[in-house]
């Protein structure tokens, strides 16, 4: 039999028919489609029993209580803690993304030393003895005062361990970044005779006059402000937002006053003028609890007629009259300031003008008003002995001029450090310790900061991540993440009742890191003598337990503890009017002829602009009117754009006295003519591919402008130009 083509054909057809009637094609198709959906990069939480741990968020100064859901030793989700006095169950997008920071691949694993420009791993013992040797050397050479430390905040046990270390070592140079809190604190010194932090009882207020405070953009404790804002909406309480740009807060306010940037305090005094002229002020409060009223009144009535104020601020005279009347007639009005998130300071004159409105209507020290909240004082450590070297070192002048005759009430002027390093003879700073701060990203005039830091021969970073400052350091001693360590968190940030929160180790340390508190104690112990003696604690946990004493157990069980209440001492409810001087409005840096525009920053809940870099989840929320591909979009009024020939979506060169950057143009009616803006929090050069090289860092384009009264950096904007490219 000859097998020819036809038989093959029939064999093939038979096979095709049989295959079609078997599961093979159908099952293969089904499986292939399932296989194509097997995405190994999709994170899948482990299965198991969920447990919950209460702790405190430290990603911003807000101090929210968090409840962390875990399965075994793995953090699955971070939620707002119900019943917590700050956030009562709420959480922001940054807090929610905390698990990504804990498990971030850019976390530093173990101490590292820079050798010939690249990092090499070393052991903790080696790292600690290297620092101890270096610092001992400098001390022996009589250069103890050339050692400085920067911490993220001056409050809490860890910053205070740094301060104590510098004291006993012999250096006055303890620095930290300043904020709106420092301006209020200065004012408190003038009006209450002691430094105090601003507190506002927003929950019970019935009229809010905000001079640029980003109520829902991260000002104060963000989740608390969100809740307060919702509460005002449901109670039909009026929010008046004074701001040059249509921010989310302005858009959601009952009245937006689009003011010329930088003239907020002038408007406040114009409003005060209306209240004075129409005798709408609280006579009882003025008589009993204030000083210098007549002189101040005279000053205001002389200079701040609403017609003149209207000319300066761009707000119509009639509006000024209306706001003045509304504010004075409200039962519990509050006036507040601190632009955007409030991370930059304001001039003392400016803040005094705005706080004077609260005094005029008697909204100081009462329910629903403004409070002067005393600094938390639970840290009472034993006195320590200074040896001769330390005493000599401490007598030296601070490198930043804070506390000098010129600025006796200022504790820290971090923005001055770079200039002092660059202009000083020799090596004004020989070693620097930087913890919980990222000055190479957050300080104004960032390029100068980086240049200055490079000049310091020995830089130690305690960062958990490879941030800009860590990348520049000579030695990195990575701290535990906030979910892996014990630490006290004093929460002051505009709360009327400030409190102490506690972070607890929610999970065991994931990497070879150490609590910075422990590292400082270890360094002190390694240096022996009086330095070691000043640190009598076995370790940081021992230090924390001893410091908190009887509060340790309640704090550990409860997670927070209130440290102030509504009954402030009498002197804290008084106000001394500050006769308005010529310190404001503060002019922005730059020549108007060459740089005709004004660039102002804006803050957003979708970006973390502080020392914590935005986690990937947060970056995903940034809209394409802010960041498109890797380009920053600058918000420009269409009329401004027309004048300079700029097109929506087109490229332009943004120039300020501090530098220039290529940006894209975003046309928007939400900003006044001649003013341009883009958010802080972009343009990182370090961290990971989700954050690095995306957009422009605002801080690179702005420089500090000092308040004559306090020396604080009060730059609210800078002159700029946009040129089509």
């Amino acid at each position: 039999m000859k097998i020819d083509r036809r038989y093959f054909l029939s064999l093939g057809i038979g096979a095709a028919a049989g295959t079609a009637l078997s599961p093979l094609p159908w099952k293969s198709m089904d499986d292939s489609s399932i296989w194509s959906q097997n995405w190994p990069w999709t994170p899948v939480p482990p299965d198991g029993e969920a447990t919950y741990e209460n702790s405190t968020c430290t990603l911003c100064p807000g101090g929210c209580g968090i409840t962390v859901r875990k399965i075994d030793d793995r953090v699955i989700k971070i939620e707002g803690r119900k019943g917590h006095p700050v956030n009562d169950g709420g959480i922001c997008s940054l807090g929610l993304s905390g698990a990504q920071l804990l498990y971030s691949p850019t976390r530093l694993n173990g101490p590292m030393i820079k050798v010939n420009g690249s990092f090499q791993k070393i052991s903790w013992d080696e790292a600690i003895s290297k620092i101890a040797e270096k610092l001992t050397d400098l001390r022996l050479q009589g250069k103890s005062h050339t050692v400085a430390a920067i911490t993220g905040s001056p409050r809490g046990t860890v910053p205070n361990l740094f301060k104590r270390f510098l004291d006993v070592y012999g250096s006055p140079n303890f620095l930290y970044p300043s904020s709106f809190e420092d301006s209020y604190s200065h004012l408190a010194k003038k009006t209450h005779g002691q430094k105090a932090l601003p507190g506002f009882d927003f929950e019970n207020a019935d009229y809010i006059l905000s001079f640029g405070a980003g109520i829902i953009e991260g000002w104060g404790s963000p989740v608390r402000m969100f809740r307060a804002n919702s509460n005002w909406k449901s109670r039909h309480i009026k929010l008046v937002q004074v701001e040059p740009r249509l921010s989310n807060t302005a858009a959601k306010s009952d009245k937006w006053l689009p003011i010329k940037p930088g003239t907020e305090a002038v408007l406040a005094l114009g409003i005060a003028y209306v209240i004075l002229r129409e005798s709408l002020f609280d006579q009882g409060f003025i008589n009993n609890r204030t000083d210098e009223f007549s002189a101040w009144r005279e000053g205001v009535l002389e200079t701040y007629h609403p017609a003149r104020v209207a000319g300066i601020t761009g707000i119509e005279q009639e509006t000024i009259n209306t706001i003045g009347r509304e504010f004075a007639r409200a039962k519990k009005p509050i006036a507040l300031c601190g632009r955007g998130e409030g991370r930059t300071s304001e001039g003392i004159g400016e803040i005094a003008a705005i706080q004077a409105l609260n005094a005029l209507v008697g909204s100081i020290g009462i329910r629903g008003g403004a409070f002067a909240v005393p600094e938390p004082d639970y840290i009472k450590w034993p006195e320590f002995a200074l040896d001769e070297t330390a005493a000599d070192g401490l007598n030296q002048k601070r490198i930043d001029g804070a506390g000098s005759n010129q600025y006796p009430d200022t504790d820290s002027l971090l923005h001055r450090l770079p200039r002092a390093i660059l202009s000083g003879k020799g090596e004004p700073v020989n070693a620097i310790l930087i913890a919980n701060a990222n000055p190479c990203y957050t300080l104004p005039d960032t390029q100068t900061v980086i240049k200055a830091l490079k000049k310091i021969p020995f830089k130690v970073s305690f960062s958990t991540y490879m941030d800009e400052t860590a990348a520049l350091s000579d030695l990195i001693l990575p701290n535990h993440s906030y979910l892996e360590r014990y630490e006290d968190v004093p929460v002051t940030w505009s709360l009327a009742k400030s409190l102490i929160g506690l972070t607890i180790p929610v999970v065991s340390p994931q990497l070879n890191t150490k609590n910075t508190g422990d590292v400082i104690i270890s360094i002190a112990k390694a240096m022996k003598g009086s330095i070691s003696d000043a640190f009598p604690w076995k370790n940081y946990t021992d230090c924390l337990k001893t410091t908190l004493g009887k509060y340790w157990n309640p704090l550990q069980n409860n997670g927070y503890m209130k440290i102030s209440n509504y009954n402030p001492p009498e002197k804290m409810t008084k106000f001394v009017f500050q006769v308005p001087d010529k310190t404001f409005p503060v002019d922005p840096e730059g020549d108007e002829k060459v740089l005709p525009l004004i660039l102002i920053p804006n803050d957003s809940m979708r970006l973390s602009a502080g020392s914590t870099g935005s986690p990937p989840f947060l970056m995903k929320t940034v809209s394409d009117t802010v960041l498109k591909d890797n380009d920053t979009l600058v918000q420009v009024n269409p009329n401004t754009a027309k004048k300079y020939g700029l097109k929506d979506g087109g490229y332009a060169l943004l120039k300020t006295p501090r530098g220039f950057k290529k940006v894209k143009i975003y046309l928007s009616q939400g900003i006044g003519e001649g003013v341009i803006s883009f958010p802080r929090g972009l343009g990182h050069t370090a961290y990971d591919k989700y954050l690095a090289d995306k957009g422009v860092n605002f801080n690179e384009l702005i420089g500090p402008v000092e308040d004559p009264a306090s020396g604080l950096d009060v730059a609210w904007g800078i002159r700029a130009s946009l040129t089509k490219v």
Partner: protein, 237 residues
């Protein structure tokens, strides 16, 4: 079988036009050729059915043995609360699934009896505090959300309805998983006909259509009973 008939006709119809010269040469054209054609067709048909129904399923699935064996019957005799004694609901309503060492350790701190698996269990896992890496027959893909609580507690369904009479087994069957998808064979069905959606028992297959089928039968709708929501995101989160 219509396909088969059509194919035959087609072959016959094509044949004369295709090879006329060979037909003329042939002594006995017609029957012999037709018979051979049918024969070859049948061979192809039968071979592919064997490949599709027997060889393919065997090739598709890979086999793995459980780390140690387990006797459900013996344990059922020891407990009071049936399946839920070990496969229990947690206080928050979540389902514990396969027991962890914590539940076994009370009885199995010391070796019980003389089985080899028991010795391995105590020595390799209990005393080292290492969880047994059980292979889970009923593990659904990660994208499937399923609440045991809603089905067992609210709808009062039996474990057997979906899991079969596993409580009556004295030994653990071999775990088989799909080489393409990586998922357990029990989801798609152990028998080849299950692959085509045919099944004898409710627990034979646990694919999406089986969920929908039961929902339709029991509630008259495919949507979630508790939320009344319909669509992909009820189960696929």
């Amino acid at each position: 079988m219509s396909t088969e008939d059509e194919n035959i006709k087609e072959v016959e119809a094509v044949e004369p036009a295709e090879d006329e010269s060979s037909r003329l040469k042939s002594e006995n054209p017609g029957n012999g050729i037709a018979g051979m054609t049918v024969l070859f067709f049948t061979i192809g048909f039968a071979a592919s059915l064997i490949v599709g129904w027997i060889v393919f399923p065997n090739l598709l699935y890979s086999k793995k043995e459980q780390p140690i064996d387990f006797n459900h019957v013996m344990h059922m005799e020891e407990v009071d609360d049936g399946c839920e004694s070990c496969h229990f609901f947690r206080e928050d309503g979540t389902y514990s699934g396969v027991p962890k060492l914590d539940q076994c350790i009370d009885c199995h701190e010391e070796i019980q009896g003389d089985s080899r698996d028991e010795a391995v269990f105590v020595e390799e896992y209990i005393s080292k505090g290492k969880e047994v890496p059980w292979l889970i027959y009923s593990k659904q893909p990660d994208c499937v959300f399923f609440s045991h609580s809603a089905h067992v507690r609210l709808a009062k369904m039996d474990c057997v309805t979906c899991h079969g009479p596993i409580g009556e087994s004295t030994t653990l069957k071999t775990y088989e998983y799909n080489r393409i998808t990586g998922y357990s064979r029990d989801i798609w069905g152990r028998n080849p006909e299950n692959m085509l959606g045919l099944k004898k028992n409710t627990w034979d297959r646990m694919k999406m259509n089986d969920c929908a089928e039961c929902h339709m039968e029991e509630t008259g709708r495919k949507s979630s009973v508790s939320t009344h929501k319909d669509g992909c995101f009820v189960c696929h989160k």
